[in-house]
Subunit: 435 residues, 2 copies
Amino acid sequence: MEVDKPVRVALLGCGVVGTQVARLLAEQADDLTARVGAPVELVGIAVRRLGLERDADLPAELFTTDAEALVAREDVDVVVEVIGGIEPARTLILRALEHGASVVTANKALLAEDGATLFAAAESARRDLYYEAAVAGAIPILRPLRESLAGDKVTRVLGIVNGTTNFILDKMDSSGAGFTEALEEAQALGYAEADPTADVEGFDAAAKAAILASLAFHTRVTAGDVYREGIAEVTASDVASAREMGSVVKLLAICSLVEGPDGPAVSARVHPAMIPLSHPLASVRGAYNAVFVESEAAGQLMFYGPGAGGAPTASAVLGDLVTVSRNRLGDVRGAGESAYADLPILQMGSTETRYHVQIDVDDKAGVLAAVAQAFAEHDVSIQTVRQEGRGDDAQLVVVSHAASDADLSATVESIRRMAFVRDVSSVMRVEGASE
Amino acid sequence: MEVDKPVRVALLGCGVVGTQVARLLAEQADDLTARVGAPVELVGIAVRRLGLERDADLPAELFTTDAEALVAREDVDVVVEVIGGIEPARTLILRALEHGASVVTANKALLAEDGATLFAAAESARRDLYYEAAVAGAIPILRPLRESLAGDKVTRVLGIVNGTTNFILDKMDSSGAGFTEALEEAQALGYAEADPTADVEGFDAAAKAAILASLAFHTRVTAGDVYREGIAEVTASDVASAREMGSVVKLLAICSLVEGPDGPAVSARVHPAMIPLSHPLASVRGAYNAVFVESEAAGQLMFYGPGAGGAPTASAVLGDLVTVSRNRLGDVRGAGESAYADLPILQMGSTETRYHVQIDVDDKAGVLAAVAQAFAEHDVSIQTVRQEGRGDDAQLVVVSHAASDADLSATVESIRRMAFVRDVSSVMRVEGASE
Ligand SMILES: NC(=O)c1ccc[n+]([C@@H]2O[C@H](COP(=O)([O-])OP(=O)(O)OC[C@H]3O[C@@H](n4cnc5c(N)ncnc54)[C@H](OP(=O)(O)O)[C@@H]3O)[C@@H](O)[C@H]2O)c1
Ligand SMILES: NC(=O)c1ccc[n+]([C@@H]2O[C@H](COP(=O)([O-])OP(=O)(O)OC[C@H]3O[C@@H](n4cnc5c(N)ncnc54)[C@H](OP(=O)(O)O)[C@@H]3O)[C@@H](O)[C@H]2O)c1
């Protein structure tokens, strides 16, 4: 490629993110030219509906509904995919690479389901595939993990990577609202979609956890490998109980390097957890995202910012676009997929976490001893227990040391069967606190 | 370079940071080989004193006192400079580039004083010069600014980039101690050096501000361009006064894109300032660092972590080393200096900030009116004023809207001369609050 020629960009999708990508390409044109070393030219935009009014002021002749033809154009250097979903996004990205274009995408769902196919295609085409916007929107987290920490050993990534659920939990915490009420408010304010399943059930966060774990541990992790629990079961009483412990409930994506039965392994999971108010993630409010990284040499790092939204996500897309364009001009590639460590993935049953268990019991002698005995029988060691009488019933709040999911479940099962137990009213994992 | 051949690294300096670089090179050897694509081999270490006991278990034959000869070796691919200071570091880096090596350095003082010479040398040698460790230790901040935000327009960078001063101010805040007492504690705990000038007077933060401003605004900014005020004048009463306002005093490095007399300009300054407790930087405790970035599309981002220490700083050095080594193997370079915007640098006298001014006055009628008149005469508009009587004297606390340093100084001058004014007991800038 000659240096004077522009870098030609095809945009697939012109919705929330795509519109902002197109706007920034126009508004920042001079700066982009200086930073890339050549003008960046938008040569086509694929959408579903041609006539639709778009926010950005874009020439009608750029639009097409024939995305296949657009990615096959000989003169396209970079394809930006912001359609989302599995198909046709996957086929379009594969075609783009085959035709010699580099690709920038924000598509977490596709990367987490079938990243391997995309990375292999990028490898054999010897082109770049960048995707910073796929995790935590505007927050630069993939590049730091992949490059800045490349000389270090990451041991744990703890992220608030879904703004919708963080907004809901934050609302429950600040107002005492229940889940349904908080969800409705989030929907009214545009923070949650009409069908909130992907967010509320943790699917979105699980896709991001898979991407984070893959990069952090140089191991292929797919969304299917990630244990997932959403926030629909979190009650106002769980949240109040967390408060009493000086904690707050967050939906966390947790990726960690653990000692498995056959040596080092990766654990990746998404679930609500209580974290102490003193933890940097505890103060992440509203729809903001943050990713907390622990590594052997660097220690504890945190990356914080807006996790979604058209303009923030477009900022991340354009950062990738500049790198990928510079690489095209220099006829080089950035680092491709790194999966050399190929660690086994630990199942949730074997993953150890701490638990907060709240039990409503009859207030009589011997109850605490019997409950403690149930924990001991299942090898779950207790860190603290608090008992509060309330007339003829009482509440026990137990916080355990690290225990396996399987052992804890068995403990709770056996406690539930005890005659004096009225209800096990809250079982929640505890993260981010020292043992 | 053949891909099977190792990447050969020369280490200049084996003190706090160098020892950890050497240790990680050995401990992470297998991972580094996988990530770089070739083994990374340490071929020599230059120090001042040969006999010295070093923390890492390093072969004696690697050591030399002849740094000049080490950087001139034909077989060295990458030189890591962790000696510090201006000379001989500058000459050694220039020699290394001339001899065809890429360079990784943690030397903020040198980069902020004479980065231009180094960048020019890297450019003409067509080699990399990377320096992530120079600002905020382990926190990946330069790479995100340079690459992730390359498609965005950064408008402001607000950083707590000196751990020593943050420790001291945090101590003053939490214990009510005065500056001298807090400094002594920092020295006793190893957070401050015996000669604390570089930290306490803001020289270290100013060097980092210069580097951040250069990257954020694509403009050459040197340490000499940065307005600088240290924390030695911060009193226990300033800190208490901040508390009363729901704020905390921090030493901030502030780099902003401002409207100058002839269009856009850069303002870079380091001084203590009050920030509201609700600001994400307010909760940065102890010796931790954090950098808060505002950009047009991404919005507000924050990067948080350990700003110093041997291992954290070495993590950043090794991240750069991996990139630079990969570039050597691929026979390519990363992006060089970007100074195309070449914006003018605004002097402090023209920079507008908000101020908190505390005035001890005789408690009599007309005092508030006279003080308010003094602000008005100098075009400094008042946001809030609080008056508190205490017997026959009173205290006025004024918070201004944004005003120039020159106008504020003139206001304070004229207030000081008023007969009923006993003392202007605190003048401090206010940052991070909405107007
Ligand atoms: N929104 C965010 O805040 C955010 C944050 C991070 C990552 N992301 C990711 O960014 C991607 C895009 O999200 P979005 O919110 O911008 O989605 P969106 O608003 O729904 O926009 C999707 C766009 O793709 C177009 N499209 C759909 N099917 C198509 C097809 N078969 N051929 C051509 N064009 C097609 C649509 O065309 P029409 O306009 O004609 O319907 C629309 O312009 C997703 O992968 C998402 O996960 C989004
Ligand atoms: N320490 C931190 O936390 C930190 C954080 C960020 C950045 N940095 C930067 O990293 C750099 C190194 O800092 P440091 O704390 O590691 O310094 P240090 O502990 O003082 O170590 C300096 C090293 O350089 C060697 N040296 C000094 N003069 C030399 C010469 N003329 N020729 C060869 N070697 C020479 C010394 O040799 P001897 O051992 O024989 O005396 C020593 O090994 C500085 O630029 C600093 O600003 C440090």
